[in-house]
């Protein structure tokens, strides 16, 4: 409450009071404006601070030259409050000019008379009801004595309320009245510059943060040693990165500090004041101060018996409450939501002081027009009495309108009462906490019990899970992290000794592991030991780790390539031109580069093995056939090179080998009896053949003719016969010559 004399308090509610408003102007011609508008910048702040220090008044406007004035003190609990004064005058001022605002009330004070005949002879004494009597000095009056006269010797004099210096923020020209209307704010306006230096308020105590902010914006603050005793939260340290990546003003930071301390802040001239709740009424007012219209007193709020710190909307609440008061008065809760400073798990260190500051605050909701009180201050508790009823009130919103007359509109609303679910809230964050840090872009939840603690940390690029065990507050090594999903954006990794996934497991809704143990993929299935590809799926591709080898299994065939080169590939296809099937059973072709060359190939079918060579015009150049009954080829070559042979031994006689062989004509058993007969020797005990020219099977059983040996024996036999023929020819020639000679 602004200190006022009893005369002022008496006069303000009387009939025929006389008022005045005085503006002392401090012109500021240095301020930086943009398009005629004043901007709260650091540079302008310095210029305003300079001007606030100025004591030399440039001009004073008052009385009839001040047309309208509205003094507004509007705010909420646990915040800063910026006072506003709007006024209308004829003079044109500049944005940023400083104006010192004063409200005056004419007080008819008693004073010494100026009439010289009374000087040194008379004296005045005040009786009841402001009646003054004139007595003769030195006279000893007794009760019942006549007095000389009754004097109403009032000397008019204005008693002034100084509202402090205000900064003109905006102005409007009123064309109709040729006047200007100005909006001005107190020095709290200085704090409404962009918050751009976190170092001022992070890793420092709350007290230092306040002092740093004041120093930054040009305010001064005097935090006394008693303040530090009364407000223990002043010594709390504000965490690093509390205000990272947020856009706000320094006043916003002060608002959060207000909540931490359970107080409010106002400024006057350049001084910032920490304003605690003084729960005692500063004054009482009766019906004489109320207008006869718009007088509303609503429900009673409080006493506040619970304080809740809330994070992330209504979740994760921390509370202090007075159960006795709740039982007696019902629950009256004051909730502080998402305060950045108290976002961390040490917020329970703050709540006790906040609770102490707010505990038992109670007031009536009110909305009334007063004939004018003018000297109540923001956050003052006061009483309004009407009849037998007394309403204790808290001044939160006050609008004083001063023109030719005086009206004051006072209203205080009840905060929106929240009801916390105390079953899910706690007295401490030590067991369960859930932090939504919007500035850091992080959600952290923690649950602890006994010596175990689990933590889930979620950021934009990672989800971290950990379960830890503690002993005496220290994390036990080796038994710490049981599960973790890492923050590597290239992969998700789960580290655990065992992973149990229960129920149907679905990945991207395309892949499932079912309860029956089968596995389904949208484009195929692995079920009952089979791999099935979807009917319209092209193939299964198998690649080596180095991608050099590629195997394709499609529903129509199989292929394997090396380095993607078809020339080194194997293709088996159910359809022509290669594959395994009925027509032909197997055909093998070669690739020439990336092109399939069907001019060369071989086949395996029921008739045997064939190999062919076609000309490009389709005519057959050669063909070899190996069937169950014959081998057919343009040429059959028996390898006879020295390097593949050993144990050489000259054959002495071929005739001796073949001379006893019986040559037969015969049919093979698989032939018809009238089929063309083959010619050759017969391997059998009843037939004459030579073991020198037979072939043995893997059991050393004679099974056929060794044709190359047989031909070679015949060659030898022919050589022997040729020798015999030559010998015989010589003998014949000799005999013929002898005969001629004899003749």
């Amino acid at each position: 409450m602004i200190a006022r004399t009893s005369d002022f308090k008496d006069e303000i509610s009387k009939l025929a009071r006389q008022i005045d408003f005085k503006l002392n102007l401090y012109m500021n011609d240095k301020l930086i404006t943009q398009d005629g508008k004043f901007i709260m910048t650091e540079a302008n702040n310095h210029l305003i601070v300079e001007q606030l220090d100025t004591t030399e008044v440039d001009e004073t406007i008052q009385g009839e030259d001040v047309y309208n004035v509205t003094v507004s003190n509007v705010g909420t609990m646990l915040s800063t409050m910026m006072k506003e004064i709007d006024f209308e005058i004829r003079d044109e001022l500049r944005i940023g000019d400083i104006v010192d605002c004063n409200f005056g009330l004419k007080i008819n004070k008693y004073s010494e008379t100026t009439d010289t005949k009374y000087q040194d002879e008379k004296d005045y004494y005040k009786l009841e009801n402001d009646i003054y009597v004139l007595l003769v000095k030195g006279t000893d009056y007794n009760i019942g004595d006549d007095i000389e006269d009754t004097i109403y010797e009032f000397t008019p004099e204005y008693e002034w309320i100084n509202y402090g210096k205000y900064i003109i923020h905006t102005k409007e020209y009123n064309e109709d009245t040729n006047t200007y209307t100005y909006v001005s704010y107190d020095s709290m306006l200085l704090s409404m510059i962009t918050f751009d230096d976190r170092s001022l308020v992070e890793n420092v105590s709350v007290k230092t943060a306040i002092e740093n902010i004041c120093n930054k914006v040009g305010l001064s603050v005097n935090i006394t040693a008693q303040d530090e005793i009364d407000l223990p939260n002043l010594s709390k340290i504000i965490h690093q990165d509390t205000f990272k990546d947020i856009e706000m003003t320094y006043r916003d930071v002060l608002d959060m500090i207000c909540q931490c301390l359970g107080i409010s802040m106002i400024s006057n001239n350049k001084e910032l004041y920490l304003k605690r709740f003084n729960k005692t009424a500063v004054d009482s007012f009766d019906e004489n101060y109320l207008k006869d219209t718009n007088v509303i007193f609503g429900q009673k709020y409080g006493p506040i018996n619970s304080v809740v710190l809330s994070r992330s909307e209504d979740n994760d609440n921390l509370y202090r409450k007075d159960d006795q008061s709740i039982a007696l008065n019902g629950l009256h809760e004051f909730k502080i939501k998402d305060n950045l400073i108290m976002l961390y798990d040490d917020r329970e260190d703050y709540i006790n002081e906040i609770f102490d500051e707010l505990h038992n605050i109670e007031y009536y909701e009110n909305d009334f027009d007063s004939t004018g009180i003018t000297y109540l201050e923001w956050l003052d508790f006061y009483n309004i009495t009407r009849g037998d009823k007394t309403y204790n009130c808290l001044m939160l919103n006050d609008e004083i309108k001063i023109n030719q007359g005086l009206e004051e509109h006072i209203y205080t609303e009840v905060p929106e009462e929240a009801t916390t679910d105390y079953k899910t809230a706690g007295k401490t964050d030590k067991e369960v906490s859930f932090i939504v840090d919007k500035q850091q872009g992080e959600i952290k939840s923690r649950v602890s019990q006994d010596d175990l603690e689990s933590v889930v940390e979620q950021t934009a690029n990672a989800i971290g899970l950990s379960v830890s065990q503690f002993e005496d507050g220290e994390q036990v090594s080796g038994a710490t992290i049981l599960a973790q999903i890492n923050d590597d954006s290239s992969a998700v990794q789960i580290d655990a000794d065992k992973i149990n996934l229960n129920g149907v497991i679905t990945a991207n809704n395309n892949f499932k592991i079912l309860n029956d143990g089968s596995m389904e993929a949208k484009n195929g299935k692995f079920i009952d030991g089979y791999i099935q590809i979807k009917s319209d799926s092209p193939a299964i591709f198998l690649n080596s780790f180095d991608n050099n080898y590629e195997t394709t299994i499609s529903k129509s065939g199989y292929s394997t390539k090396y380095n993607g080169n078809n020339s080194s590939a194997i293709y088996i296809n159910a359809n022509n031109p290669s594959g395994i099937g009925n027509t032909p059973d197997i055909q093998l072709y070669s690739y020439y580069g990336q092109t399939l060359d069907t001019n060369y190939g071989c086949s395996i079918d029921a008739n045997g093995i064939g190999a062919w060579h076609y000309n490009s015009d389709g005519t057959q150049l050669s063909r070899s056939i190996l069937s169950s009954t014959q081998v057919r080829s343009p040429s059959i070559v028996d390898e006879s090179r020295e390097e593949i042979k050993k144990n050489f031994e000259k054959l002495d006689s071929g005739l001796n080998i073949i001379k006893d062989i019986d040559i037969y004509k015969y049919n093979y058993i698989h032939q018809e009896d009238n089929g063309k007969k083959h010619i050759g020797f017969i391997i059998g005990k009843d037939y004459n053949y030579s073991k020198e020219i037979t072939s043995l099977d893997e059991n050393n059983e004679e099974v056929g003719a060794d044709l190359y040996s047989f031909i070679s024996v015949c060659c030898k036999a022919i050589q022997e016969q040729q020798e015999q023929i030559d010998e015989l020819k010589q003998r014949i020639e000799k005999l013929e010559n002898d005969s001629i000679a004899e003749k």
Partner: protein, 126 residues
């Protein structure tokens, strides 16, 4: 009223000699906030007391009229008078009310007009 009409000056001209009577009015002007409070008691702001001098002029000659008329026709006057409340001479800025006189010999220009009255009203509260 314990005042002396000869003490009245308008724009420095002592006009007491032209007057036969002065009516001193001290009119109270109330603000719109005036009314009864919730207790039923009248309350309100007194904007101020605005003195009003109603001057009754005697019959004036042409030359006298030429002194008085310009004073009354100006948009404002500086008037000094003795204020019994203040116990001293008070100076105020006034505006003049409508005034009119009757001159029955206007053509000849001789003689005097009839007496007339005019009000001087303070523009500011006392």
């Amino acid at each position: 009223m314990f005042t002396n009409k000869n003490a009245i000056t308008v724009n420095g001209v002592n006009i007491g000699q032209y007057l036969v009577e002065v009516k001193y009015g001290f009119n109270k002007l109330w603000s719109q906030d005036s009314g009864r409070n919730l207790a039923g008691r009248m309350t309100g702001t007194l904007i101020g007391i605005f003195p009003k001098l109603t001057l009754q002029f005697r019959k004036l000659t042409k030359s006298e009229m030429e002194v008085i008329a310009p004073l009354l026709d100006r948009e404002s006057q500086t008037v000094s008078y003795y204020d019994p409340t203040l116990h001293r001479m008070n100076t105020m800025t006034t505006y003049a009310g409508d005034w009119e006189n009757i001159n029955k010999k206007i053509i000849s220009g001789s003689g005097k007009n009839e007496g007339f009255s005019c009000s001087l009203i303070a523009v500011s509260r006392r």
